[in-house]
Amino acid sequence: MSAIATDLSATELSKGTSLPSWLAPLLVVSFAYIVVPLVGGSYLFEAILLPFLALSLAGVGLNILTGYAGQVSLGSAAFMAAGAFAAYNFNLRVEGLPLVASIVFSGIVAAAIGIVFGLPSLRLRGFYLAVSTLAAQFFVQWALTKFSWFSNDSASGVIDAPKLFIAGFEFDGAVGRYLFALTVVVIITFLAHRLVISQTGRNFIAIRDNETAARIIGIPVLKTKLLAFAISSFIIGVAGVIWAFAYLRTVEPAGFDLDRSFQILFVIIIGGLASIRGAFLGAALIVVFPLALSRLGSFLLGDVFDSGVLDMSQRIVLGALIILFLILEPDGLVALWDRVRRRLLLAWQSS
């Protein structure tokens, strides 16, 4: 009997885990659908889960471009803005267009803009490409502010999100918007996962790891790079729709500034490049961290810890964290997570 037990644990050990790989995501998703809406308060949804979902999705999108295909981009917030404002206008100007359709179309608009600003990637690499994607950041924000048509001539450039109807069902209130965002994120994340393990995903990695070799063996480098920009921008655009429609409900172009682009870049650096899970871990840290810091600060320092101090200390600690991650754990939280899990598994099996 004991021989069988050791034999079993040996095979488990060799495979890392005996559980099928789809089980863990399925459990997390079921938990998010069933348990969270029952126990969560509106603060949890409004302040934590909704921004977490939007940033995670943006992180998944940027990770496809930067983590997998190796093209650095600093224009993520621009694609979020493009998605958000496109969805707003589709919804406003096309009579009777279902919400799902305007989300898909807005993703396509963001993808088109992504292709245009991805064109420099055919000639530029690394740092120079990052600088050229800044053009997207400034151009989109400028265009949305300059032409008031985009915000339906609202004086301040602010847009209000429509009600979220899908097939006659209204996603209302914090829980409703949470479920709406969760559904979109789950579907797109699943498709993104399928993408990165496909031939196209492997082509992305090949171009990232050695562009010359990829070209020599016949991978269509130019097409694949533009595809990475298109898919990435599509996903980030949809993340922008969630940000605007489900999380904030009213947004202005200034909300999608360079800081937001950096925030998304930090999400994938901290979470782990070239990892879908990494985007979620990174987004969780980016969202929860300022809240925890403000609680901790006011607990320790009382009134001295006002919003100005909070803002500064956030930047300092976040900056330090990023440096620490780059030095100590370049593969991000996801590598840390895997290592801890392996240790626990080993400990559990040896006991």
């Binding site: 399928r194 492997r202 090949a206 790891d209 020599i216 063996i217 016949g218 480098v221």
Partner: protein, 304 residues
């Protein structure tokens, strides 16, 4: 073992591409030194005509001619900086020659179209390893077939029939090559984690999986121990014999090259100074001078 499951259904397929089976190995048997008479007549698979290349004022290649016959192992040797790698880069289109043409299967190019290289039946390896570190060994090798992919990303995401068939076929072919080069035991390792000698062999596998008619090897044995070198030489010869591939290789180690090649071209300062069989090269005075240096005229050190 999961290998059997993956290969299921394609395990019986030949390692030869159908087109190779159809046209058969050239001259019945691959070219060996004694059988060269029959190859003498066959037209060149690859021909360089008056290739010139310079970087700024530095002449890397000057008026180099080279012809490679189907089925032979053709070595290009020369001291450091002789222009060997530049020549391979010109053949594979990474560099554009300032003068001259490259003729592949009779078609002449001023610059070989790199993007279509695989489709033209040319594969190459690199002097400094150029594997995809983020992919495992099997996927690295399978990527050598990426140029044949017809399915688009949407079909791949949804797992439609064609993309699944392509994937199964690519993996099956890659597994056969891994088996052929005795790499099956590392198929699931990330390529970047392998020891140097194995990485070199994985690169050879990635080039071979496309079943190229012309295989360019840029210093396949650089940095290897003597044992690894003879092992690699055996793999190169086996690959030529099995896939009817023509091989052009660059190598530093003259000893290995002499045993492996059918014909050898020698470069020095960007010029071809000799071209012939290993025996002819071994006895060529200019080659000996280039490699060993010319004896100084003033051995007494007069005038210094």
């Amino acid at each position: 073992m999961p290998i059997a499951n993956y290969a299921f259904g394609v395990a019986e397929a030949s390692v030869y591409a159908p087109e190779i089976l159809a046209r058969g190995l050239p001259d019945g048997q691959p070219a060996h030194k004694d059988g060269s008479a029959s190859i003498e007549a066959s037209p060149a698979l690859l021909a360089l005509e008056g290739i010139g290349l310079s970087f700024g004022g530095v002449v890397a290649l000057a008026d180099v001619d080279l012809s490679v016959r189907p089925g032979e192992i053709r070595a290009i040797i020369g001291p450091n900086g002789a222009g060997k790698s530049s020549l391979i880069n010109v053949i594979s289109g990474v560099y554009r020659a300032d003068r001259g043409h490259v003729a592949l299967h009779g078609a002449r190019y001023a610059q070989v179209p790199t993007q279509r290289l695989a489709r033209l039946g040319v594969a190459r390896t690199f002097q400094n390893l150029a594997l995809f570190k983020g992919l495992d060994v099997l996927d690295n090798v399978a990527s050598g077939l990426a140029y044949k992919t017809r399915s688009n990303f949407a079909g791949q995401i949804l797992g439609l029939g064609r993309s699944r068939r392509e994937r199964a076929e690519q993996r099956g072919r890659a597994e056969q090559i891994l088996d052929f080069l005795q790499l099956t035991h590392v198929r699931d390792r990330l390529a970047g984690t392998l020891p140097y000698g194995l990485q070199k062999r994985v690169e050879l596998a990635r080039a071979l999986v496309a079943e190229p008619r012309l295989l360019l090897l840029d210093e396949p044995m650089a940095g290897m121990t003597a044992g690894e070198k003879s092992e690699m030489a055996a793999y190169v010869r086996a690959a030529r014999d099995r896939f009817a591939t023509t091989v052009v290789l660059i190598e530093h180690d003259v000893g290995v090259v002499m045993g492996l090649s059918d014909r050898i071209a020698v470069l020095d300062y960007g010029r071809k100074i000799a071209d012939g069989t290993p025996d002819e090269i071994r006895n060529d005075q200019r080659v000996i001078d280039a490699y060993l240096g010319v004896a100084s005229e003033n051995e007494e050190g007069a005038g210094i």
